[in-house]
Subunit: 152 residues, 2 copies
């Protein structure tokens, strides 16, 4: 809820909501959570810069693969707060997401393959079953910093 005139902030809540296929209330909610930012016009109505569209796209895509808003926020925190993120900002972010996504992709491939490969174990040899893995192996697998999914 920053005040002051930002020339680039021209999109209304309704416009953004419609273009992104979400409800206005979700925009309020994301703002409250610090995931997006808005400026106000003379009449106290929210106005967004275009980069909000990308942020929301990322939020939606990430949620679809089970990444929480808290994790998304952590990632977004690496974007500049005072200016609109540029090419390089998104590029840096992208690098980190790629690692996380690669891990998740690997996990899903394991799940997929395990469902087939595991057949025949009859749940009798749980030690050998790649699916039966009580603790999150992803946490141990990565060598680089794991940023997302830090749930206890």
């Amino acid at each position: 809820m920053a005040t002051g005139q930002h020339e680039e902030a021209k999109l209304s809540v309704g416009q953004v909501a419609k273009r992104c296929g979400i409800k206005v209330s979700a925009l309020h909610f994301y703002e409250e959570k610090g995931l997006i930012r808005s400026w106000r016009n003379q009449g106290n109505q929210r106005r967004y810069k275009r980069d909000v569209l990308r942020r929301i796209s990322v939020i939606k895509a990430a949620q679809k693969v089970g990444i929480t808003l808290a994790n998304i926020q952590e990632m977004f925190n690496q974007l500049p707060d005072q200016r609109t993120p540029d090419k390089d900002d998104w590029a840096r972010l992208s690098t980190q997401w790629q690692q996380e996504l690669n891990q998740r992709i690997a996990y899903m491939e394991k799940l997929r393959d395990s469902l087939t490969g595991c057949i025949g174990c009859g749940c009798l040899s749980m030690k050998n079953c790649p699916l039966y893995n009580p603790d999150d192996t992803l946490a141990q697998e990565g060598t680089g910093p794991v940023i997302l999914d830090r749930r206890p």
Copy 2:
């Protein structure tokens, strides 16, 4: 909550919970939701067959990639109710999951690649941006029956 003596049902809630790394309350909850099944001993305590371990492994793995319990249940509904699932039952289930997982993997790869590839669009050409895709493209993509993720 079936009654009667099933020779194979030998695991207690505590044992299952410990082996799976979840709480007893979660087992109660899954049972209530119809995701797992138990038998009772003389003293009304739950006893599980070993296949519950596989079910829980699948539940946990699926949840980790953002699949809801309702969806998992739909999938499990295709397993036999009256007998312990065998090789072929799990194989059939596996085939369906593979399609779903392949789609989700494809989606995540798209997200990953888009984060990089999209850089430079500056959120100005949203029509061309593969990330900016308000409606679930997965729904349209698949030719076969899509079972999971039927959220409106």
